[in-house]
Symmetry: C2
């Protein structure tokens, strides 16, 4: 496994791979890797000849009051996991080379970034689209892999790639969960033992909604109330949103008539968690 | 010469060229081609193996009161000129394929876009950075050629490419002028015969400033006054700016101490013209 921090070096190496006809898979990460990230590497190894992970905690996607400074940095164990998973290249740039002095060009994200996390985390998606577009320029990949756990992020990146004609294919992979259902997230390690129990409320709320829909309920208000009750039963009171939306536009629905997605964001202690579930009716 | 309107087709063809090891030169244009554009094609043919021009009148870089609808469209003669100049590929997309329904991702231009044309043409540079980034994705070129006539545009694109890590080299080529000094521009064809005479005021103002600086004048106020007088002598009264600025940041100077650039934008009748001159001291 080749670990590279210089952006010219990684470009040259991968451009060479590309020109040699190899299919390159890119897995952008912020490190603090868990089984969800590793599932993306595995998928990349299935469909590509060369797999590249990037590790960069991107400052521009954190709000001023968010957890940038305490975001977990676990480089050594990240590299071990990537090596074990068969990753070929890891790009670990320093912040200065990504945001040099005078940096001032940003990617203004598409309309699908306006609601939900766009409202609760102002500037977040602008940071995401900017850094992801930069990574797509630095790594001439054929395919890039993202986890469905960040559902809105996937929609934003998909639309950005389409709008800006970036020559890369996007593959969205299933959310990986702990045995009890909690969606894997680097932020789960912020949770204390009692908070870890509480956090199951998100998964139970999604399951509860799913059960109601399976039993024929179609009224979104009613389902939302049930979800909030389940969250409350787990002492989760600070809910950013518990929404049922169109899977493409992420516009809220009032009645479920076709495939929809439930988007959830809530605070457990001082940790903000998100999860989602695709509902096919 | 291969004229292509489908974006997938142009990408596939040029990706093939690139993978075959050929150096690709890109000349983005809005058509209405003149000797300035053709000089870019010639430069590309000198340094690249394959030269691609694009013709697209980009709606997003025109303000609502600007000349988008009456901007000259001269496709047939453009193609003749490009063929004669030895262009290999011409990409002529339709507007729909560049801005499909729901398009909503833009490139927010760097700080160097804020002043001058950024003030007088709100939204202009956002349209430029967005369409140019898109062309850089659609055409996997090695080098791209721009004319120094659009000095601020060159600075904006250079910074965008640096900030977003676009793997392309930018070459800025000298302004091509008519025999009497008027900078070539597609908009010159808007000028009536008397306006064509008036328009020489821009070149004379730049020359006048240059003479003052050569003779030792360093005070910007004084030089600006002289420029405005020369413009006024040509009955040019609506001056957007006549500025002397740092060649990198485009920040206005008060005294000329090192290489600077004179930026000029003024209206001749209903036509807005720009010009500039690099001053080495």
């Amino acid at each position: 496994m080749d670990v590279v921090s210089n952006r010219h070096e990684i470009y040259a190496k991968l451009d060479h791979e590309r020109i040699s006809g190899r299919k390159i898979g890119l897995i952008p990460t912020m490190g603090a890797l868990h089984a969800g990230h590793i599932s993306l590497v595995k998928k990349s190894r299935e469909v590509c000849d060369v797999s590249v992970a990037t590790i960069f905690v991107n400052p521009s996607q954190f709000g001023p009051k968010e957890d940038f400074s305490r975001y977990p940095r676990t480089l050594e164990s990240d590299l071990e996991k990537l090596e074990k998973a068969g990753t070929d290249f890891v790009f670990v740039p320093d912040s200065h080379s990504i945001y040099p002095p005078g940096f001032s060009t940003y990617v203004e994200p598409p309309a699908v970034a306006l609601k939900w996390d766009g409202e609760f985390r102002p500037g977040h998606f602008r940071g995401v689209t900017t850094v992801v577009l930069k990574l797509f320029q630095l790594i001439p990949a054929t395919v890039t892999f993202f986890g469905r756990k960040d559902f809105q992020q996937c929609a934003v990146i998909r639309r950005m790639v389409e709008d800006l004609n970036v020559p890369i294919r996007i593959e969205i992979c299933p959310t990986v969960r702990e045995a009890d259902g909690l969606a894997m997230s680097s932020r789960n390690r912020y949770l204390s033992q009692p908070e870890r129990q509480q956090s199951l409320g998100l998964w139970h709320a999604l399951q509860g909604a799913n059960d109601l829909i399976s039993s024929g309920k179609r009224n979104v208000d009613e389902i939302q109330k049930a979800m909030k009750q389940i969250l409350s039963d787990h002492s989760i009171e600070r809910i950013d949103y518990a929404a049922i939306v169109d899977e493409e536009t992420l516009e809220p629905l009032t009645t479920i008539e076709k495939t929809a997605v439930i988007l959830l964001a809530a605070h457990v202690g001082s940790t903000r968690l998100i999860d989602n579930l695709l509902i096919e009716v």
